[in-house]
């Protein structure tokens, strides 16, 4: 006999829906407390070093927003698809091809002014990301192939393509044989918007996209159709919503946003093409989308939390001598706790033995 049992609610609880993410975050921090203690660190000091110290300075706040920006951007795009049960999990690859395309534009044209180069980079990045996402969309609508697996396989291909470009055609001839492109000229770099930080104009792009996505989801017919297609596929189809259209819109939005995030990275903090242009933002954004409840406002908050996990991981490396991969550990734990807490949306948890009434 299980120590607890689940009793179905008559209607989903919206309170539980919005309470689950903070509960999951608390559970994650509690897990961190135990983990640090087990590793022989003073847990309170370690948690402070992980979650507080990185954002105690103006520069730190800038870094928090800088890393939250690609996460929020990608998650916003993915959430449009996820609402409609279109599972694009290849954002990491779409980000990489966005960076490749924008990097190509920058390397070819950065001798001209920023008003020419930067907009072209964004267009190229968005198109490339969308194109990369179009492959799983086409395979799904045309061949019925599962988009989860195809979009993920394309992550490996995109990463290898980026690696090929910086090892081969675009390698900096004066770069001491390192696999990297030459640094972009200033005209291909996003201007810093807050002095004393690395926070750049890319964050404004993110905010604009998040606002546009909210309008699209909440205020347009197509956005409404996408939601219906996710909640009640049968009803949507009966009402004339084409399932293929839903897949295409879901995939292309995610791909374009991830591509733009790739542009923000190379035109922002990186400033050139490297074999890796993202520390797993494309995958972390999946978690951000879920923790943010697929809602633009929730996603912004969740992206700040996830960004803090990245900063904490870096701080843990320096202050606590722990590998920075602890970030991935926290991220995975957070999502699992969230999914577990989501049970409260549809069920009440009853502790103790079954009563006669509840027996089906």
């Amino acid at each position: 006999m299980a120590p607890f049992r689940l009793e179905a609610r008559n209607a989903p609880s919206s309170l539980a829906k919005w309470l689950a993410p903070p509960l999951a975050a608390i559970a994650m921090v509690a897990c961190g407390f135990v983990l640090f203690a087990v590793l022989g660190k003073d847990p309170v000091a370690a948690l402070h070093a992980f979650f507080v110290a990185p954002v105690a300075t103006r520069y730190g706040i800038g870094e928090l927003l800088l890393k939250a920006s690609p996460l929020a951007l990608i998650a916003t795009g993915l959430a449009i698809g996820y609402r409609a049960n279109v599972w694009n999990i290849g954002a990491e690859g779409q980000l990489a091809v966005g960076a490749i395309a924008a990097g190509g534009v920058a390397l070819a044209l950065d001798a001209s002014g920023p008003l020419v180069v930067l907009p072209l980079m964004f267009v190229a990045g968005a198109l490339a990301g969308a194109l990369w996402a179009a492959i799983p969309a086409w395979l799904r609508t045309r061949c019925n192939a599962n988009e989860i697996l195809t979009s993920l396989m394309l992550v490996y291909i995109a990463t290898l393509l980026l690696s090929y470009m910086v090892h081969g055609p675009w390698r900096d001839p004066e770069g001491f044989n390192f696999p990297q492109s030459r640094m972009f000229a200033a005209s291909a770099l996003l201007p810093v918007i807050v002095e004393g930080t690395r926070l750049n104009a890319g964050t404004l792009v993110t905010l604009a996209v998040v606002a546009a996505a909210w309008l699209f989801v909440a205020r347009t017919l197509v956005g409404f159709e996408m939601r219906v297609a996710g909640l009640a596929p049968g009803a949507a189809q009966y009402a004339g919503v084409s399932p293929a259209k839903v897949v295409w819109i879901g995939m292309l939005c995610g791909g374009a946003c991830a591509g733009v995030a790739g542009v923000n990275e190379i035109a922002g903090p990186i400033g050139q093409l490297l074999p890796s242009v993202s520390p797993g933002y494309g995958f972390a954004a999946i978690i951000v989308a879920f923790v943010g409840r697929l809602h633009p406002a929730g996603i912004v908050v969740a992206s700040l939390l996830m960004s803090l996990l990245y900063l904490g991981g870096e701080a843990a490396q320096v202050a606590l001598a722990l590998p920075s991969s602890i970030t991935g550990l926290f991220q995975g734990t957070l999502l699992l706790f969230l999914l577990a807490a989501d049970v409260l949306i549809h069920y009440r948890v009853r502790i103790g033995a079954r009563t006669a009434m509840a027996t089906p």
Binding site: I89, A145, L149, T150, Y156, F283, T327, L335, L339, V343
Partner: protein, 307 residues
Amino acid sequence: MIDTLVGIVALTLAAGTPLVIAALGELVVERSGVLNLGVEGMMLIGAVAGFIVTVHTHMPWLGVAAAIVAGAAMALVFAIVAVSLQANQVASGLALSLLGIGLSAFVGQPYVAAVVDPIKAINWPPLSSLPVLGPLLFAYNPLVYVSVALAAGVHLFLLHSRAGLVLRAVGESPRSAHAIGYRVLAIRYAAVLFGGACAGLAGAYLSLAFTPLWSEGMTSGRGWIALALVVFATWRPYRVLLGAWLFGAVTLAQFQVQAAGIEIAPQLLAMLPYAATIVVLAWMSRDAAAIRRHSPASLGKPFHPQR
């Protein structure tokens, strides 16, 4: 000439083995109606657990046992969230993969440059030294034989045993199985744990026999390819063997091309297995009716007796 062919067959089987083991495990899970996308994470945990235990004990088979337990432990986390608490299975599986990638990198970091006593290929003097037949049949890593035996075992269990019939019933119609008194959730737990144990074993094969070393993310997508193989095999065990060996051959092709002195960047060649997965998946899935006919009817749908 014949020696080259035998060599290619042997290397193909060696490269296909982790896919065979992981895909068979996932096949059983999916036949019970549960979709666990966490194979990549469970494989990595198995690989790192097996490696660490072997580094400390110098007993590779103890490492294999540890990998099996570690893979099953990861699967237990998934089962609690996705089977008991009925979370979205796609999201739970992704979470498990992300957790496995992070956790394995975290605990494995001190072992990146370590060396282990690997599991060696068998050598039975009279048989292994036979011409052609020796290297073709009697000179593999023991885990290669285990993978073939596993395929036969899963086939017999699923299609020719009463317990297998019950497991399939749970995957097709959990409500009916529940109504006639089978414990749907317990059966799904057992299937998920078996899948985790297989993924752990597949990981151990990589870190203790195939490579043998530990590096971050060393499965490089094999867990995901194993998931695609289940579709390729249309949920039938013996076809997993064929599919996995086919992929072994594709993996091998990239080294053959390089050895033949053809000038292609290694990064472009390394794309082959992933591109092949996409092509094969699209090819197999194009007949939607056939996929529907073969896939477990309740795949991915949580079950709660009250709903």
